[in-house]
Subunit: 197 residues, 2 copies
């Protein structure tokens, strides 16, 4: 098999797994199910992924990368840092809420990834912190936010907004009318802006 | 039985249940275990609590009331609102962390209460919000914080600090060195203070 074909097969396995995870949930999907859909042997799937857990992580990583990409795009747009920060948090909340509402079975993958502290979650938070720090650093350099440690500020904003981004907390807090995501962002912006101490 | 004795028995059941919950966990503790410790029949326990779930809630409520009382005391002390707000959040975090470190089995009760949205949790958040709003309202009246909706500000502070107060999140975030509780409180105070927008 050529290197090109190997990459294709790898991607096919992840795509089929994601589809099955949406349909029957990641815990019920077996390597045999995935192999059957692809008309290959389970042994062939295992040539690409040493264990089912690796397929779970690959599916999770792909979806988290999509979030990271769309957030990265927002960060690169022109405009004030406060507006970008709001758009980033709102968009993370929307993507999570959508998945929870229309892909409840896929959402379970992220609830478990959080509970069991899978490495993909740590990588995702680090990527998020990097983008948030970039936006906040821009706001500090431009005089919009008071000067300080942009990396720490990013972690504080992510922690303050965790109720909107954490897959399980989102569900727990779903009936609470307040705070709204906009109220929480206003609160974070007030903490960052020039004049606050 | 006199009304006085009825109250005693009620309290005894809760106290014995709490001790057993610490020793073997709330899920493994049966009404028969509690009755045996009190040298009474399970039927007598059921005169006071219609179901085991009611005993679970009574134990949880008693411990949450202790937190509420100690937080209420801090709110009544003289001094600046910002100092009281810090002391309240730090003391909630300490009480939760202590329980998690030294009473892991009892901690499970609160993890489940959170997951299953028991009414005692809602009551507890309402009590916390009331105390936080009281402190923030004092700070707004005294010119320490900028004027606004103290009730909403209380909910925002509680949400921003959830990583330190939520029994499961506390565990998930235990390895993250940042934010510290003091960094998060500084962030919240910056959002509340005069000069922030």
């Amino acid at each position: 098999m050529s290197a090109h074909k190997e990459v294709d097969t790898h991607l096919n396995i992840v795509e089929v797994a994601e589809r099955l995870f949406r349909q029957i949930g990641f815990q019920k999907t077996t390597v045999a199910d995935i192999a059957r859909e692809l008309q290959m042997s389970p042994a062939n799937v295992y040539r690409f992924f040493a264990a089912k857990a690796e397929i779970n992580e690959a599916v999770g990583r792909r979806i988290l990368r999509e979030i990271e990409d769309s957030v990265g795009e927002i960060a690169r747009l022109p405009g004030p840092a406060s507006k970008k920060l709001r758009n980033v948090i709102v968009s993370i909340e929307k993507l999570n809420a959508q998945r929870f509402m229309s892909d409840r079975k896929l959402h379970e993958l992220f609830e478990t990834a959080y509970d069991e502290n899978w490495p993909i979650m740590r990588e995702h938070f680090d990527a998020m912190d990097k983008t948030l720090a970039q936006i906040i650093g821009q706001g500090m350099a431009g005089g919009e936010f008071r000067p300080g440690d942009a990396g720490l500020a990013a972690i504080l904003v992510r922690s303050a907004c965790i109720r909107f981004c954490h897959p399980r907390l989102m569900v727990e807090c779903a009936q609470d009318p307040e705070p709204t995501v906009d109220q929480m962002i206003d609160f974070c912006l007030a903490a960052l802006k020039v004049g606050s101490a």
